[in-house]
């Protein structure tokens, strides 16, 4: 693997780390919106498994998948940030403090971490409080 290839992979990881959490949250919200409306309209809300509605199980599944995606993005960003905060990132001539790569990795840790929190927070009512459509 050449240095150029390695830089390309790291750039892709960086953007995933930065945007992965937001994309996961978007996916959860859109999927949850469609599943809730379609499920309640189609009568799926009347079917229960293990004390929860079928729709709720679907929503839990989507939420877990998207939470996992956001968590991976946070970890990826954190690992890049840990490395780049000392050397500034691939090919950077700027100090770590001012390098775009190190800055975006740091932003990725905070943003994806916050989106992970939002995904979890959005999932709490469907598991613990809402029992019907």
């Amino acid at each position: 693997m050449t240095a150029h290839d390695r830089t390309g992979i790291e750039q892709r990881r960086l953007w995933f780390g930065l945007l992965g959490g937001g994309i996961a949250w978007t996916g959860q919200l859109i999927a949850a919106s469609f599943i809730s409306e379609w499920g309640c309209f189609s009568g799926l809300g009347d079917r229960h498994v293990g004390g929860l509605m079928m729709i709720t199980w679907l929503l839990i599944g989507v939420s877990l998948a998207m939470a996992a995606l956001a968590a991976v993005a946070t970890v990826v960003a954190a690992r890049l940030h840990a490395r780049w905060r000392t050397d500034g990132g691939p090919g950077s001539v700027d100090s770590p403090y001012d390098s775009s790569e190190a800055f975006l990795a740091k932003a990725g840790v905070i943003a994806s971490g916050l989106f992970l929190f939002i995904i979890v927070a959005q999932s709490i009512p469907i598991v613990f409080f809402l029992r019907g459509c």
Binding site: W25, S36, E37, S100, A107, I118, I126, L130
Partner: protein, 835 residues
């Protein structure tokens, strides 16, 4: 010395704005256009303010007869639409266009002609909007235009004025969105990494991206509604399988981000003013940037909180409640960062900072009531009451107007070279702050007491006269406060004290140029080495190559407009971008666009077709490569002196990024259409609706097969071009031309042999519109391919590198058109067989 003066004079002459009529119509430079945007927006602000005062006069006492219900409906529709579409967003766009190049170290924005087109389309949109008063058909269905109230059954041509005027303004917004994003990504001064970018630029970058998605959805929705009204399609006709809730979803998918499209630049203004007057860098720079990003993302996930009373499932609402609460975290981070920056700094209490302090107080109040209305049970109680009116005015006036007024006070000396009057400023601020609170705070109480919004009067026994009278008196005080500032703006233009280059001692690059700035903005491109370049100017950190490039480009080129292109991430110099000078083309293109809109408005479709054709011709003239410029760039010698290309291609070129912006817009529109299809599908018992059979997949499959297989051929042609092989390049692109041509013909055949009309049902309407969208996208790409083919066959071998950009753009667009075509095909022909 004489030659230095001569060089400066030539540079000045090259960039100077055209004066006198009709030359002003040809101006494309960001400074005059930014000023015009702001002045036009302020004019609409005054008009919108007068409409608000008229409403308040009507509501001052119970059972008032100053206005009738129809006039009141018209006033709140025009007031809301004017403030949202014609004032706040265009003003901030104008400010961005004016300030951005100065702030990031560029000489102009990325697409000067697009700026001019956007400005004229905005003006014409506003004129179409207000022309409704001339024929007494004033829009009256609210600024949200809910169906079925806004359908042909309930409103006449008034809603067409609203829809078409708005469509033009949305197009203007989209042009500004592309402009802002590409300018920030590609025109930053050397050394201005993303970690050193001013917070105002960060806010604008995020807002520019938001505009591309949000405005496109509204534009698509307004076109669908206009189709329902003019062509009898059935998207929003519940009797024929359509959905009124679909309009609400589409509108609010735009409408909520719209609030943040106004709010984020406002926070950017605050983030520039606070460090200046606190005389220290912003605390929590990284956190503020992340807060802006998160707000931009999450703002798209809040739209349903405008629809809590629309009968959606509780499960669905719970997700949107949580998102609505979460956005407070991001906003709160910014508020704490500003307070921390000010804390203990002994800030200088100049007028711009007073507006910031007013903002902090009012926005926090508006934000708190925002958290309250995000909670479903509370929202069910206060929905459509004056509590909501109070809430969103605290957010919009407190959160947007106050920063705008603060921004006017802050940058006015830079724009005019003169200071505003401090005394008038204090009076204006005081009256605006007091008047605002007197107007809107009582509305919280009136809302709790049950006063519904959008009613032209109320009964005496509700005992709300006192609150309403205070509110009306406050509106006059608020109006007086705003008017004082505008008077100050006019008077100080000639009589204000001279400001000097940096009257406040700001930390960003605009304070390093003269006041007012020269038309070329930066004579020498600055080298940025910190987040506060005006406080710590230093080019020591720059490498030798950057220093040499900057030196070579000092005051160069003198006889044509150009700026330095840098890397989108680390801002290292990449290329020199030619920028066009004055031309009437944007103006005439805007006139043609308006003609097309007026044709639809008056149901004179021939006029509309003429306007559409004229727009296309103007765009062709606009975009065609000019040999004169190619020769000019070749002879300039700049490439040899700087080692940078003057024919940027791929990601080095602003045109490539512009095309990416265009495909993002078109992609968002396709996304909105697909959402509409599946939304209506979701609530239909039978699919396809109305006894229409499943679509015949054979011809469509052949067509999409030809289209998608042409993409690898074009990609192969592009690779051959990069290797300098002329004939294989032609072969690859010819394959694209043939495949695309076949797709367009087959799509036309498919549409012509359908056994149903678009008026039969919502499904039929969707089937037609989605197919027409695929057809238009492919036909545009095909026309683009034809144009580059002609060029490819005509130019000499040695000129091939200069044609590379056009071929790359054609290939990029072609890939997008095929992907969109595939998505639309899968939706229309495959999904009914699976779902």
């Amino acid at each position: 010395m004489a030659s230095a003066w001569d060089a400066l004079e030539r540079l000045e002459r090259t960039w100077s704005p055209a004066r006198g009529f009709p030359n002003v119509l040809a101006e494309v430079n960001n400074q005059p256009l930014g000023r015009r945007y702001m002045l036009t927006a302020l004019t609409f602000f005054l008009i919108g303010g007068v409409l608000a005062i008229l409403m308040r006069v009507q509501l001052a006492v119970s059972e008032n007869t100053f206005l009738g219900p129809q006039a009141f409906n018209e006033l709140f529709t025009m007031h809301g639409s004017t403030m949202m579409f014609l004032f706040a967003v265009p003003f901030l766009e104008g400010l961005a266009l004016y300030v951005l190049p100065m702030m990031i170290g560029a000489r102009d924005v990325a697409f000067p002609r697009l700026t001019a087109y956007g400005y004229w389309v905005y003006v014409f949109g506003g004129l179409v909007f207000y022309a409704s008063y001339l024929i007494g058909a004033v829009p009256d269905a609210g600024w949200f235009g809910y169906t079925p109230l806004s359908t042909q059954r309930f409103t006449g041509v008034s809603t067409d004025f609203w829809l078409l005027g708005l469509s033009l303004v949305e197009v203007a917004g989209l042009t500004a969105g592309v402009e802002i994003v590409v300018t920030i990504l590609k025109f930053r001064a050397p050394g201005m990494t993303l970690a050193r970018m001013p917070l105002f630029a960060w806010a604008l970058l995020i807002v520019g991206i938001m505009i591309l998605f949000a405005f496109t959805v509204l534009l698509t929705a307004t076109l669908l509604l206009e189709c329902d009204r003019a062509l009898e399609t059935r998207f929003f006709d519940a009797d024929r399988g359509g959905s009124n809730l679909l309009w609400q979803h589409l509108f609010w998918f735009f409408g909520h981000p719209e609030v943040y499209i106004m709010f984020l630049p406002a926070t950017g203004i605050i983030s520039m003013i606070v460090p200046t007057f606190a005389r220290r860098p912003a605390v929590g720079y990284s956190l503020i940037v992340v807060a802006l990003m998160v707000t931009g993302f999450v703002s798209f996930g809040l739209w349903v909180h405008h629809m809590f009373t629309a009968g959606l499932p509780s499960l669905s609402k719970s997700f949107f409640t949580a998102s609505s609460l979460m956005i407070a975290i991001a906003s709160g981070v910014q508020v704490f960062a500003w307070i921390a920056t000010l804390w203990g700094s002994g800030p200088r209490l100049a007028t711009p900072l007073l507006y910031v302090l007013g903002f902090l107080f009012l926005f926090v109040l508006g934000g708190l009531t925002g958290v309250m209305v995000a909670v479903v049970p509370f929202d069910l109680q206060v929905h459509d009451s004056y509590f909501i009116v109070a809430h969103f005015h605290y957010v919009l006036i407190g959160g947007v107007l106050f920063p705008i007024l603060g921004g006017i006070c802050y940058w006015y000396p830079k724009v005019t070279g003169r200071l505003l009057s401090r005394r008038l400023g204090l009076w204006s601020w005081g009256l605006t702050f007091l008047g605002f609170n007197a107007t809107f705070f009582p509305m919280h109480i009136m809302g709790f007491l049950g006063l519904p919004r959008r009613v032209y009067t109320y009964q005496r026994d509700l005992q709300l006269d006192g609150y309403n009278l205070v509110s009306t008196a406050g509106a006059f005080v608020l109006g007086l406060g705003s008017l004082l500032l505008l008077i100050d703006v006019v008077i100080s233009r000639r009589r204000g004290r001279l400001a000097g280059d940096s009257p406040w001692g700001g930390d960003s690059l605009e304070w390093t140029v003269t006041s007012p700035p020269p038309p070329y903005t930066h004579h020498t491109f600055p080298i940025v080495a910190s987040r506060t370049p005006a406080w710590a100017p230093s080019d020591d950190a720059a490498d030798e190559r950057t220093k040499r490039i900057v030196e070579e480009l000092a005051g160069e080129p003198r006889d044509w407009r150009a700026t330095l292109v840098t890397d989108a991430v680390d801002a290292s110099p990449q290329a020199i971008q030619y920028l066009p000078g004055s031309t009437y083309l944007p103006f005439w293109t805007a006139v043609a666009s308006m003609t097309a809109a007026i044709g639809i408005l008056s149901r004179a479709y021939i006029l509309s077709a003429f306007g559409g054709a004229a727009t296309i011709i103007a765009l062709v003239l606009w975009l065609r490569p000019k040999q004169r410029i190619v020769r000019l760039l070749r002879r300039s010698g700049l490439a040899e002196r700087t080692g940078l290309t003057v024919f940027p291609t791929g990601t080095l070129s602003t045109a490539w990024w512009g095309t990416l912006g265009l495909t993002t817009i078109a992609g968002s529109s396709v996304g909105a259409l697909l959402y509409s299809y599946f939304y209506i599908r979701l609530f239909s018992e039978q699919w396809p609706q109305g006894g229409i059979g499943l679509p015949d997949w054979r011809l469509a499959t052949l067509a999409i097969g030809l289209l998608t297989t042409s993409v690898p051929a074009v990609g192969w042609g592009l690779r051959q071009l990069r290797r300098g092989r002329r004939w294989p390049t032609k072969a690859g692109f010819s394959a694209g031309l043939v495949g695309g041509g076949a797709y367009v013909v087959l799509q036309l055949v498919e549409l012509s042999r359908l056994g149903f009309s678009p008026s039969e049902s919502a499904y039929a309407s969707l089937f037609y519109v989605l197919n027409v969208a695929a057809l238009l996208l492919a036909a545009t790409g095909w026309a683009l391919h034809l144009a580059v083919q002609i060029r490819l066959w005509r130019i000499a071998d040695e000129a091939l590198p200069e044609a590379t950009l056009q071929l790359e753009i054609a290939a990029l667009y072609w890939t997008f058109a095929a992907a969109a075509g595939l998505a639309l095909y899968a939706t229309l022909y495959l999904s009914p067989r699976i779902l």
